[in-house]
C-alpha cells in the first residue's frame, strides 16, 4: 500500500511507537567504527542477558548509529537512570552482565565516559541530533523523533519558491567543500527549464581521513531522504539518486532499508501525503574513484560511464543528468534541510558567523587524544576543537599542524590555532573547510612527507583527462621524492612551485585545481623543512637556468 499517508498518520505512528518504549534503553552503537570491535556481539550479549534476567518489560536494547566518540568504542549508552545517561566505553561482549547490573543501579565496575567532557559539551547537535539515539533501521523511530513532519509541512503549506527562499534566508552553504550558497543553487535549478529534473545526493566522501557523511547515512538515513524530498519539491524534480561509495557497505544497506520502508509508508513514491508530489530515490554505488565526488564526474558515473569531469559551464543546474537540470548537494547539506524547515531560517542563521551559518560536522582524527565525530557551531576556533575537545596531541607531544580539506586543503600550523572555523578564514590560510576531515599532526610529523602523501594520492586519483593534472601531478610527486631523498637543489623547489602554479590554474576540474594546495601550504608554513633537505647547487649549471 503506497501513498495513503496523512499528517495524522505520522502522529499515530509516533504515538504507537512511544507506547512500545521501555523504562530503560541500552543504546548500542552499530556503526562501522564500533562494528569493527564486535558491536553486533555486544548487542546479542545484551539481548540475551536482558532475556535471562526477565527484564524484557523494562529494558530495551536498541541498535543505534554513531555516537561520535568512536575512539572510545565500542560504546553503549544507558538512558532512563535517575540522574543522567551513562555512556560505557570500550565495551566487550563479556560486559553484558555488568551493564545489566548498572541498569539495576548496582556496582558495575565498567569504564564510563564523562558526559561533561568538552568533547561532548562543546558540541551542538543539529544534523547529528538523532545519531546514536534512534534505530536507523526502523522508520518508526525516525517518525517518533518528529521525522517526515517537515516534508508534510512543506508539501501541504508552502509553495516551492518559498522553500527556496527559506533555505536562502538560512544562509546554508554547501558542505561538500566549496561552500556554495545552497538556496542560490536550488533557485537556479528551480528556474532552469526542463521537462524532467533530478536531485542527486553526493555521498562519495572521497577525502581520505573523513567519515562524517558515512556516519550520517548509517545513523540517520531518513534525515537525508527527507531533505532530498524537500529539495525535489522545491526545484520540481521527481527522481533522486544517492551516490554512495562502495567502501561503505553498511551505509548502503541501511539506505536500502530506509528507502524500502519509506516507500511502504507512502513517504516516497507517487502522491506523497495525498498531494500530486511524486519522488523516488535510487542508490548508485561508486566503484573507487575519488574524482567521482566532482559533480560532473559523478553524473558521468551515474550514467554508467567513465567518471571523467567535463568543463563547466554548462553547470549541472542547467544541464545535468541526461541533459536535464540537476541539483547536486552533499549528504550533510541535505541533512541540514529538515532542521531548517522545522526550526526556521532565522534560528539557523543565528548560529555561526556572519558568512558561515549553522554547524559543521568534523571527523577529528590523527595524533589527537580524542578521536571521533564532532558537530560544532561555525566560528569555533581550531584551538577549542583540537585542544579542548580533542584533548591535544597524544602522549604529551605537541600539536604541529591541523590538516583540513584533505587532498584539496592545506596544513594549518599550530600558531594559527586561534583561527575561527569558517569558510573564509580557512581559505585565507591556504586551506579550505573541505567536507570535514580534520587530521591532527604532532611534532614528529615530517611535513614534506605529508605533501608527498597527498601528491601520491592525487597522482593516483587523477582521471587522466587533462594534461596539467595527469602529467603535472606525476612530475610534482617525483620532485617531492627527489627532495625527500636529499637529491634536490633550490632549482627543484622553484620547478615545484612553478608546476603548482600551472596545475592550479590550468587543470580542468577541482581535483587538479586544488592538488597543489598541500604542497603550497607546507611550503608556506614549513619551508625550512624543505630547504633543510636541499643540496647546494652544483657549480657551472646556473647559467642554463636563465628562463
Amino acid at each position: 500500500m503506497e501513498g495513503t499517508m496523512q499528517g495524522d498518520d505520522l502522529a499515530a505512528i509516533a504515538e504507537k511507537h512511544q507506547g512500545s518504549r521501555r523504562k530503560y534503553c541500552l543504546r548500542t552503537c552499530m556503526s562501522a567504527g564500533c562494528m569493527s570491535s564486535r558491536a553486533d556481539a555486544i548487542k546479542k550479549g545484551l539481548d540475551a542477558e536482558v532475556k535471562a534476567q526477565g527484564l524484557e518489560g523494562e529494558v530495551e536494547v536498541r541498535r543505534v548509529g554513531c555516537m561520535g566518540f568512536c575512539g572510545l568504542g565500542p560504546l553503549v549508552g544507558l538512558d532512563g537512570m535517575k540522574e543522567r545517561e551513562i555512556l560505557f566505553e570500550h565495551v566487550t561482549p563479556e560486559d553484558a552482565p555488568a551493564i545489566i547490573r548498572a541498569v539495576q543501579a548496582k556496582d558495575h565496575g565498567l569504564q564510563v565516559a564523562d558526559p561533561d567532557h568538552p568533547f561532548f559539551s562543546k558540541q551542538m547537535r543539529v544534523v547529528r541530533a538523532n545519531g546514536g539515539i534512534i534505530d536507523p533501521e526502523r522508520i518508526e523511530d525516525y517518525v517518533a523523533a518528529n521525522g517526515y513532519r517537515a516534508l508534510y509541512h512543506v508539501l501541504t503549506d508552502i509553495r516551492p519558491a518559498e522553500v527556496v527562499e527559506e533555505i536562502t534566508r538560512s544562509g546554508l552553504r554547501g558542505r561538500g567543500g566549496a561552500g556554495f550558497p545552497t538556496g542560490l543553487k536550488w533557485g537556479t535549478v528551480a528556474k532552469s527549464p526542463g521537462a524532467r529534473k533530478f536531485v542527486v545526493c553526493n555521498g562519495d566522501e572521497g577525502d581520505p581521513g573523513a567519515y562524517m557523511d558515512r556516519s550520517i547515512l548509517e545513523s540517520d538515513p531518513h534525515l537525508v531522504l527527507e531533505g532530498m524530498a524537500i529539495a525535489a519539491y522545491a526545484v520540481g524534480a521527481d527522481q533522486g539518486f544517492l551516490y554512495v561509495r562502495a567502501e561503505y557497505p553498511l551505509a548502503i544497506s541501511r539506505l536500502q532499508t530506509a528507502i524500502r520502508q519509506a516507500k511502504q509508508l507512502g513517504l516516497l513514491g507517487g502522491g506523497i501525503f495525498e498531494t500530486p508530489f511524486t519522488f523516488n530515490v535510487d542508490i548508485r554505488i561508486g566503484a573507487g574513484a575519488f574524482v567521482c565526488g566532482e559533480e560532473t564526474a559523478l553524473m558521468a558515473s551515474v550514467e554508467g560511464r567513465r567518471g571523467t569531469p567535463r568543463p563547466r559551464p554548462p553547470f549541472p543546474a542547467e544541464r545535468g543528468l541526461w541533459g536535464c537540470p540537476t541539483l547536486i548537494n552533499n549528504v550533510e547539506t541535505f541533512a541540514n534541510i529538515v532542521p531548517i524547515i522545522n526550526r526556521g531560517a532565522a534560528w539557523y542563521a543565528g548560529i555561526g558567523t556572519e558568512r558561515s551559518k549553522g554547524t559543521k560536522v568534523f571527523a577529528l582524527t590523527g595524533k589527537v587524544q580524542n578521536n571521533g565525530l564532532i558537530e560544532v557551531p561555525m566560528g569555533i576556533t581550531l584551538r577549542q576543537i583540537v585542544e579542548e575537545m580533542g584533548g591535544g596531541a597524544i602522549g604529551g607531544a605537541k600539536v604541529k599542524a591541523v590538516q583540513t580539506g584533505g587532498p584539496s586543503g592545506g596544513c594549518i600550523p599550530a600558531e594559527y590555532l586561534d583561527t575561527s572555523v569558517d569558510y573564509e578564514s580557512l581559505t585565507k590560510l591556504g586551506s579550505i573547510m573541505g567536507s570535514g576531515g580534520m587530521v591532527v599532526m604532532d611534532d614528529s610529523t615530517n611535513m614534506v612527507e605529508i605533501a608527498r602523501f597527498y601528491m601520491d594520492f592525487c597522482r593516483d586519483e587523477s582521471c587522466g583527462k587533462c594534461i596539467p593534472c595527469r602529467a603535472g601531478t606525476v612530475q610534482m610527486f617525483e620532485l617531492l621524492e627527489k627532495i625527500l631523498s636529499r637529491k634536490a637543489t633550490a632549482r627543484d623547489i622553484a620547478m615545484l612551485e612553478e608546476l603548482c602554479d600551472l596545475v592550479k590554474h590550468t587543470s580542468l576540474c577541482g581535483l587538479g585545481q586544488t592538488a597543489p594546495n598541500p604542497v603550497l601550504s607546507t611550503l608556506r608554513f614549513f619551508r625550512n623543512e624543505y630547504t633543510e633537505l636541499l643540496q647546494p647547487e652544483p657549480a657551472g649549471e646556473c647559467a642554463a637556468s636563465g628562463q
Binding site: 562494528m35 570491535s37 575512539g71 561508486g286 571521533g372 610529523t445
Partner: protein, 165 residues
C-alpha cells in the same frame, strides 16, 4: 535462450539482474558490481557478456571496468588483506603496517601470492578513521592495527589447521 553457452548458473543470475534494470546502458556500473560479486573478478568473457546484453561496444565496458579501482580483472586470492592508506591511518603508521605485510607475504600491494592464497590491497579511507590504522581482513574491519597484528593474522591464514577456536 540460455544465458550463457557455458551453462554456468551465475550467468542466469546476472541476466536476471540486467533485466531488473531493463538492460539500460546506464546501468553498466551496477551490472559490473553484480558480476564481480558473482564471479569474484571480471574476466574478458564476462565483460563481453555484459557488453552484449547491454548492447554496448566492448571498448566502453572495458574502459569503465578499468577506470574504477573497485573492479578487478584478475582473480583474487583466497584471503584479502586491505590496508587503509587514508590520511588518518597514514599519520598513525599504516605505511609500516603495509610494509610488514608486504615483507611477510613476499608481494607488493595490489598483488596476489603465487599460491593464490592472499591478495594484498590498499584503500583510500574506509571511514574508520577514528580507530586508525584500520585493516580489512576478508571484509572485516579491524581497529588500531600494528605490524605485529597484521603478521599474526597472515600467519593464522597460512596455517588454517592451527587456527582452531
Amino acid at each position: 535462450m540460455t544465458a550463457h553457452a557455458s551453462g554456468d548458473k551465475r550467468f542466469k543470475i546476472l541476466e536476471a539482474h540486467i533485466k531488473k534494470f531493463q538492460a539500460r546502458q546506464d546501468a553498466l556500473i551496477e551490472v559490473l558490481h553484480k558480476a564481480q560479486e558473482l564471479f569474484g573478478y571480471l574476466e574478458d568473457d564476462l565483460l563481453l557478456f555484459v557488453a552484449h546484453r547491454l548492447k554496448l561496444p566492448p571498448s566502453r565496458v572495458y574502459g569503465v571496468a578499468t577506470f574504477y579501482h573497485f573492479f578487478c580483472l584478475k582473480p583474487q586470492g583466497a584471503h584479502t588483506c586491505v590496508v587503509c592508506l587514508g590520511t588518518a591511518c597514514y599519520v598513525k603508521g599504516s605505511a609500516k603496517v603495509l610494509a610488514a605485510a608486504e615483507a611477510a607475504a613476499g608481494i607488493k600491494s595490489g598483488e596476489t601470492t603465487p599460491d593464490s592464497q592472499l591478495s594484498l590491497l590498499t584503500a583510500r579511507c574506509i571511514g574508520a578513521c577514528a580507530i586508525a590504522p584500520a585493516v580489512v581482513y576478508d571484509g572485516q574491519v579491524a581497529a588500531k592495527q600494528t605490524p605485529e597484528m597484521v603478521l599474526a593474522q597472515l600467519e593464522k591464514w597460512r596455517e588454517p589447521c592451527k587456527a582452531t577456536t
